[in-house]
Amino acid sequence: MNLPELLSPGLLGIIFIILFTALMTGFTFARRSQPVRFLRTIPAFSRLARAIGLAVEAGNRLHVSLGRGELNGIEGGAALIGLTVLQRIARVASASDRPPVATSGTGTLTVLSQDTLRSTYRRMGAADQLEPASGQLTGLTPFSYAAGVLPVIQDQQVSATFLAGHLGSEAALIADAGERDGSLTLAGSDQIPGQAVLYATAQELLIGEELFAAGAYMQAGPMHFASLRAQDVMRWVLIIVILAGLIARAAGVL
């Protein structure tokens, strides 16, 4: 087998996935025998934890904007993180009079957000507190989605909005509505235009992979911590591969 055949995307993909899975599993087991690892402070998560506590005490509502990511596309990753965030918020907010509200821009995410809220509230023994409109579809195009979210922020006594998912430049309208309503706005998106506009409009922004660390920062389980460590290792692997490719290209091997 020659070098180009050896470097086929499929084979490299399989090796990458196996290595990533092994690292995640290994770090999960290693963590059980080690003391808790320190995570660097990300202001957005510190403020979110404080906002959840304040909302529960004051009887205000928390809003999670899940974006428009379809689960059968690459944007599904950010959408799944949004659902993890929603689940963690719902666990704490189940002690409050007002359940959190989740808005989404696709049918699949709407169904999953309702299911996530229903199962979390049932597990916490507060199923009767959940409102039918807690998980809602607000629009199917980027701007109709944003336009549908605005009345939710303004009318439902929302004290904090967390934008977590596949969001483009329309996210600026949502963040601005939160700012004008005096509520805390935290945001993370997998899209570059979304991150750029949110840098200017959101109070706290999660840049790049910081959104994907939400599970670890919100104590969603040991596998989330292990994922972070595996990502760190794989990032170094990628850096070495890129540098090796650069040197090989310069030397005329590739």
Partner: protein, 211 residues
């Protein structure tokens, strides 16, 4: 004791289908034709299920706004407009088809102008956002952010009397070198995070399907 089998069965289906689709995508060899066909079938099912979920979502949207109207909440007039528009559009597109001139008229004369006006609003929001950012978080990164935005703007639409190729060249260099390099770095992190999230679902650790 009541035995709840819903979650284990749902998790088993999700894991099995996920592994088949992933393997079918990565392994492209005639010896694995059955695996590739299965992967394609599951992806088609996913598209059909997404369409069914879309219908559920639209019913949910109508239900939320109907509740607003029936309980006379603030803004129920807008909800009435939404319900009437939903019924009208469904009727016209359902009876005549989405490519009929009437359906296209609705799209070109209502949907497109409404979304365009929101896009115009976005520019105003971004200007206010940048001004607020300077007041709220004045640091080196804010200066770089606002400075870069100004330079790119000057390169895109220069002021009368200030049409110089310097700004145009600078804009091109910022977009080609700085922005592309930064975006690639961010996207690599996003890609790693997405893979980690997908693997957690495949391992059954993250279960967004409740149960």
């Amino acid at each position: 004791m009541k035995l709840n089998l819903r979650l284990p069965v749902a998790a088993a289906i999700a894991i099995a289908v996920g592994i088949i689709v992933l393997a079918g995508t990565l392994i492209q060899h005639p010896a694995f034709a059955l695996l590739n066909s299965l992967s394609e079938i599951f992806l088609l099912w996913a598209v059909i299920l997404a369409a069914a979920a879309l219908l559920v979502g639209v019913v949910n949207l109508a239900q939320v706004h109907w509740n607003k109207i029936s309980t006379r909440q603030p803004g129920s007039a807008y909800s009435t407009v939404l319900i009437l528009s939903l019924l009208g559009t469904t009727l016209i597109a359902g009876v005549f088809g989405p490519t009929h001139p009437w359906s296209l008229w609705l799209f070109n004369n209502i949907q497109v102008p409404a979304e365009s006006s929101l896009l115009a609003l976005l520019t105003v929001v971004l200007i206010f956002g940048a001004a607020r950012l300077i007041g709220r978080k004045m640091n080196l990164f804010t200066l770089v952010f606002v400075g870069t935005a100004l330079l790119v703007l000057l390169g895109s639409a220069s002021l009368p009397g200030l049409e110089t190729s310097v700004f145009i060249d600078l804009r091109g260099w910022i977009q080609r070198v700085l922005a592309t390099a930064g975006a690639r770095g961010i996207l690599l992190g996003v890609a790693l995070g997405t893979i980690a999230t997908g693997l957690r679902v495949l391992m059954g650790v993250d279960r967004p399907y409740g149960g």
